[in-house]
Structure formats: structure tokens, C-alpha cells
Subunit: 450 residues, 2 copies
């Protein structure tokens, strides 16, 4: 029998608790502020948007939170997800490094997003909510919430960034097949959308605008709440099942990571993998370098400002202390739609400020080159988002080739590219450029900070 | 803990042999004939098209054939595949039936096709072949062979039915990302293609025409062989890993199927699931009804003729005794591209003639209704092909609801619909009709039989 390439947990060994990194940090993250009073927001401020259970998780200082049975029951459709050793990629690179990837593309919608969509839909349904609103860029999050809403019998209404709505019809069709309603954003359905369209009738939208529309609807309509696919503490909490599983799988593999890399947009994929390993690091049980990888076109951690900013464009959300490019920022239309958010999870921003993780930015061309290399060796075509992490993985593995170090590298392959194949088509046709964010554009956008 | 919905085998329990049903049948299937002499073809006739190892498997009378380690090693990227109990669908139907589905969408390309693409690429590479040619309709098979070819370092050249090439660019992009070359068929690159284009410059092609082109290329070019994704004995042999796994998983579930349904195009998904269960049935260890489900627009088993016919349109292949609509048949452009072949696996045709399986045909509307119902309950959007089997499953489950029978139903969910979402879009928009094959069209096509 050949050497193992895949590590699967028994269902019985699937984690039954999410991990909250907050109580293990040397200091707590700065709280969200009310934009009027600039006082910390309380549960009452958030109640129009989220159910009580999620608000409690958002501010929890408990280290572990039990996963409800109803959520575990849905997770079992695709979890535990596999951990792979990328032996074919290692061989192709000629590296002495050992590369592992945790693969979340096995979920029904092909990404890690259902890990939080399912509990969010569950808690809302349990509190009598009948309709969820949300935003989506390329559509990974929207389709995850559409799937989760169908599972718990909720209506689901999605504002999709117009650029993606027009150019990537497959995700919209997936959401509709699950029974969701999808609107291009900016739309005429909300005040926020109408204001944007009045200023620019041809606006192709942004995540920030779409969030404004979904939040506005949730705040106004009956039995309706809002669901966010990244950024917030409770979202990252739900994603920690990725890292908890990976820790158990590393035990099966008899190995320990030296370097952990994950792509960051809002931070949920990265946090989901990294936080359980950060706990181990803080406890002195292992000492991995933990590295966030972001697109050069939207370099929140590496070039953004650590400041209080709105989560959305219209300024309807609380102020979040985070690395931000400014809430007016509209990124170049790079293909990694999930990494185009102007801000970064406040929790990850705080952890970065504490010096517990590092961050790099990579351009699109290197990312797609890594994606094609990975597809032709490992057989899975990675979504554009995780190609950023794979590019960083390959950088590290090639450094090991030079130094002879047998480093153990772990990355999160948070989704496949079945619905992003035109991006690969553009790359193969030579129509991809790097789009690093120009200094002037950054300065202009940061000037809009509150 | 909730009741189990997923049955996963340990990698160590993955079958290491394929099952050949031929020696267990009451009489052997009629042999392929040379179209000139009408004598049974020998290995030498097939050598320009296939490597020796596959020719040996095609005519083997051994009950079991060992799966090479190199193939097992690639299978492990996604196998063993899960068996699911469809508890949410059962509940939505209110049926006392227990519905199980074996899910092959977990493969890198999202279907069961890599189960045979991988061994075909392996055996070719092992015999020094450097390039494979093939045809593909919607592209499931082409992308599977592109993936397998990348894995074993082979060039891969695919003739894709023009209708799909034009309308479904995602599959082409997937093939290209894996490094394959894709041509629309009919093409100017082959004599067969040029002949079709001379007669009809606007031809949108058919699987039969694309096979002619790929076969012609393989027969003429150096170190080049042809690979077929269904129909032939060795292809169905490789797919039996599906049924062998499912048998073991039913042991885990402590259940036995009463009814087994699978969709049939060329027959590889159906045969792969059904043959190991047929072995058990013939040995008297269980007694499931085994049912093939085909589209009403391409009703090979239910309305075709059991006769010797060509596998392709130009008449380059041996004559195969099979249920056929005539090799000139060009089906209506229904969305289940994988079920539009004019013929049927000779082995399945023979088994049908022996009365060991039954067959029904279902129209597109019922199939998509079943697909949407399945997506919104079970969370997986099924490819258009297996919606045929799901529609039959639901029929049976609703009969059980009337009679109160607690039947155990097993179906093969051979792929997901990520690359077929426009078909769901058409259904949701009310633009799907049933397209049952008219009698006149059938008569005209059968008249062309040799």
C-alpha cells in the first residue's frame, strides 16, 4: 500500500465544540463602537440584526461553545473534511518540505462557508426568524446561506455585487435552485442602493454597498435578520471546526506544522484554520509561523490602516476597529471575489497587531500560476481565493528546496473553482494582470475614514 | 447523537478488486463483430485503439481483477465515496421507504467518470502511450480524462460535441486547466468531421460523430490511443468499485436494498452500481429489483432495437450487439448530455434481454422537479443525469407511501450540477419541456441500422 495522502476522521471524532480564541489572547480586542455615541455597542444595539444566541457568541469570553446537535447533523453531510498530504505537488516542486492541505471544497456548495451558514440559519430559525438577508460578492457566501436556509425552512434574500451578478450567473442560479431570491446590488429596493444609483447609475457595486442594503432590509422588515459570512467573531468561531479537525488529523499523520498559511478576505477561512493552532502556540505546545495571505489589489493587513471604520459603505453598521482600506474603497475587479472586502476581521486585525501572525500580499498572476500547478498535480482546481495561500505555500516550499529544510506546511484549501472557471480561462489566455493597489488610490480611500 | 445519515468506509476497507459480471451470467454476451467480415473481433483489431491491458479486461472471463496500486493511490484522493441515507428527503415525501444514495460527486471533477479515466490513463501510460484522444458531450467524461491524463503525464485531446462546446464553456475551461486540448466536433481536423461538415456546415454534432473523430485520430497518430467513457466492458468493470463500496456500506447500515435505480446513458454509472448487487442477486443472497432509468428523449432500452450497430456515426468501430436508436440518431438537445448516446452498453443490453433488470423512461420536467426537491432537502444539487434516477426513486417512495411498504431504495447520485446550473435556471424559468422521442423520428433512425 502506498503512503497515505488523505487523513479522514471518524464521524465520532468530529469536534462537538467551537473554539473561541478571545479568552486565550494576552489582551482582549477593542469593542465595536456605536457610530453616534462612540460608546461600545451592547446586545440591544445588535438585536435588530442578529438573534440573541449569535449576539451572545459575538461577545462571549467562554473558551469553548457547544455545537448544537441540529447543526452537527447538517455538518455530517460533508464533515469531517479531509486533510491531504500534497505528495504530488511536493514531488513536482522537488521540495523536502511536507505540504498538507485541509480541503473544504467537499461541502455541498464547494467552500468553507456552510460551516457558519448552517449555525446562523439554525439559531435564527430557533428564535422564530423566518427570513434572512445577506450580501454576497462572487456568490460563495450567498449560496452557502441559501443552502442553509433551505435546510431550516427560512426564506433567504441575497444582494449580490452587480459586477458578479452580471458576470457570474452560475452562483446566482445555485442560490435560486436552493430557493433564494437574488438581487443585483446596488438595487432600487433599498435607500442605500438608491443613493448609490443616484450618484452613479452604472455602479457595479461592492461588498460594502451590498452589506448596507441587506442590513437596511433586515433592520426594517418583520421577522427578518441579517447574516454575515465573515469578519465578525461568531462567524470565525463557527469556522474553527476546520482547525480543530486539522489538529486531530495531524495527530493521525504524526506530524506538526511549522508554517500555516491561509488566504484572508474578511478572515473567516484563515481564522477558522489558524485559531486552534494559535491556541496550541500560545500554550507552548507547538510553534508554527502563522501567515495571512491577501491579494495585492486589496492589501488590508499589509497596507491598510488599523482604525475604527464602518463595516459597510453607507455607515449603517457599528464602527469596528480593524485593518481597513476605508469603507469607500472599491477594489479592482480581481477574480478572487471573496478577498475584495475593504476591511478585515477585528479579531484577526487585533491578533496581527499583537504580533502573533504575519501577513503578505501576492498578485493575481502568481496566484493563478499556483492554482494551475496545483490542479495538474493534485487534481483539484482551487478557487481563486485559496490560490493566494497556495502561492505562499509554494514560495515556502521552494525556499525549503534551497535550504534543505524539511518544513511542514499547512494550508486551507477553502474551496474549488467549479464556478470560477472563467477566471482560469482568462489566465490561460494571458488576460490576467497583477493589479497591485496604487498608492494614490489607497491614500484617497483612507482619507474617507470616520 | 442523531441517527446516521452518512456511511464512510475506512480507506483500508476500500475494495482492491473490480468485479466482472460476465462469468456470473447465465449466458455470455454476444461478441463485437468486425464490420467487414462480421466475424468476432480479436485483440489485434482493437490494438490500434486500446492498450493490451484494457483489451484483456474487455474480453476477460475472470470474476475479479486487481486494481493496480498506482490507481488505488489516485482513487484515494476522493474514495471511498460516501453512502448517504436521504432522511430529509424521506421526511419531505412522508414515505416509510428508506432511501440511500451513493454519492460520486466528491471526485475532483464532480462525477463518477474518474473511476475509469484513472485506470485507462494508467494502463496507457504503462504501455508507453503518450497521448489519448476522446470525445465528450456535456464534458463530464472529457474533464475526467483530462484530470487523469495530467496525473499520469499524458497529453489529452478531446472532441467535444459542438452544441455543448458552444453552450457550456465551463467544462472546456476545466479540461484546459488540466492541460487538455479541446476541439469542437465536428471539426476540420479529421476526415469524419470534414465529411459531416461538408453535408451540414452548421452541424451541432453528436457523441457518435465525436467518437468517430477521436477514434480516427487515435488509429492514425503515433503513440496515441483512444479512451471511451462508457459502453464497453472494461469501462463498466472499473465503475464496479461504486457497487462494491456500496455493498460494504449497506453492511455498516445493517440494511439491504429492495429496489436499486440508476440512470443510463452508455451504462457505466448504472452498471458500476448495479453489477455487484446483481452478483448478490444471482447468488441468492439478496433480491433487489434493479431498474435502469433513461430520458424519454433518448429511450435506448425501452424503445430501441436490440441489434448489431456501430458505436459511432462514421462506422469506424466494431459492430456491437446492443439496444440502439440507430447510429445516425441525433437526440433533442436535452440537458442531460451524458444520457444522449444512441446506443447502450452491450453488457447491460444483454442483461436486460436476460430479464435480470427492468427499465423505464422519464421526461425532463419530472427529472428537474426531482432535482430541485432533492437540492432543497438533501443540500446537493444533482447533475441532470442522476435526476432521472432520483425521479424514479421518488416515484417508488411515493408508491410506498400509498402501500405503507418500508422498501429500501438505493440510487447512484453520480455527480453534482455545479457546471450544469443553467439547466436548473431554464427549469426554474419554466423553459424545460419533456421532448419525448416521436415515433417517426425513431423509425427513421432505426432504418439506418446496418
Amino acid at each position: 500500500m502506498a503512503e497515505r495522502t488523505k487523513y479522514i476522521l471518524d464521524e465520532a471524532d468530529m469536534p462537538t465544540r467551537w473554539y473561541n480564541v478571545v479568552p486565550d489572547l494576552p489582551e482582549p480586542p477593542p469593542p465595536p463602537l456605536h457610530p453616534g455615541t462612540r460608546e461600545p455597542v451592547g446586545p440591544d444595539d445588535l438585536a435588530p440584526l442578529f438573534p440573541q444566541a449569535l449576539i451572545a457568541q459575538e461577545v462571549s469570553t467562554e473558551r469553548y461553545i457547544d455545537i448544537p446537535d441540529e447543526v452537527l447533523d447538517v455538518y455530517r453531510l460533508w464533515r469531517p473534511s479531509p486533510l491531504f498530504r500534497a505528495r504530488r505537488l511536493e514531488k513536482a516542486l522537488g521540495t523536502p518540505a511536507r505540504i498538507y492541505y485541509k480541503y473544504e471544497g467537499v461541502s455541498p456548495v464547494g467552500s468553507h462557508k456552510p460551516n457558519t451558514a448552517v449555525p446562523q440559519a439554525f439559531y435564527n430559525a430557533a428564535e422564530g426568524v423566518t427570513r434572512l438577508t445577506t450580501e454576497t460578492g462572487a456568490g460563495q457566501w450567498g449560496s452557502a446561506l441559501a443552502f442553509a436556509s433551505a435546510t431550516f425552512g427560512l426564506e433567504c434574500e441575497v444582494w449580490q455585487v452587480r459586477a458578479s451578478y452580471d458576470q457570474k450567473p452560475y452562483r446566482k442560479l445555485m442560490m435560486e435552485t436552493f430557493g433564494a431570491k437574488v438581487h443585483p446590488s446596488p438595487s432600487e429596493l433599498t435607500e442605500s442602493g438608491r443613493a448609490i444609483l443616484a450618484a452613479d447609475p452604472d455602479s457595479t457595486g461592492s461588498l460594502g454597498i451590498a452589506i448596507s442594503e441587506a442590513v437596511e432590509q433586515a433592520a426594517q422588515a418583520e421577522n427578518t435578520r441579517y447574516a454575515l459570512g465573515s469578519v465578525l467573531n461568531h462567524v470565525l468561531l463557527h469556522q474553527t471546526i476546520i482547525g480543530e479537525e486539522a489538529l486531530k488529523q495531524f495527530e493521525l499523520a504524526g506530524d506538526t506544522p511549522d508554517v500555516l498559511v491561509g488566504c484572508t478576505g474578511g478572515g473567516s477561512n484563515f481564522g477558522g484554520l489558524a485559531f486552534p493552532f494559535l491556541r496550541e502556540k500560545l500554550a507552548g505546545r507547538m510553534d508554527p509561523v502563522i501567515r495571512a495571505v491577501e491579494p495585492a489589489a486589496c492589501p488590508t493587513l499589509t497596507r491598510g490602516k488599523y482604525a475604527y471604520d464602518f463595516g459597510d459603505t453607507a455607515g449603517l453598521t457599528p464602527l469596528l476597529k480593524m485593518h481597513t482600506l476605508g469603507h469607500d474603497f472599491i477594489p479592482d475587479p480581481i477574480h478572487a471575489g471573496g478577498l475584495r472586502y475593504h476591511g478585515m476581521s477585528p479579531l484577526i486585525s487585533h491578533i496581527y497587531e499583537l504580533g502573533l501572525i504575519d501577513a503578505i500580499a501576492i498578485g493575481q498572476e502568481d496566484c493563478f500560476a499556483a492554482g494551475v500547478r496545483f490542479a495538474r498535480t493534485e487534481g483539484i482546481i482551487p478557487a481563486p481565493e485559496p490560490t493566494h495561500a497556495l502561492a505562499a505555500c509554494i514560495q515556502e516550499a521552494l525556499r525549503c528546496k534551497e535550504t534543505g529544510e524539511e518544513k511542514v506546511i499547512l494550508t486551507a484549501l477553502c474551496g474549488h473553482a467549479h464556478l470560477d472557471l472563467p477566471a482560469y480561462g482568462a489566465y490561460l489566455a494571458g488576460n490576467i494582470s497583477d493589479h497591485a493597489l496604487p498608492d494614490e488610490a489607497l491614500e484617497k480611500s483612507l482619507a474617507g475614514l470616520p
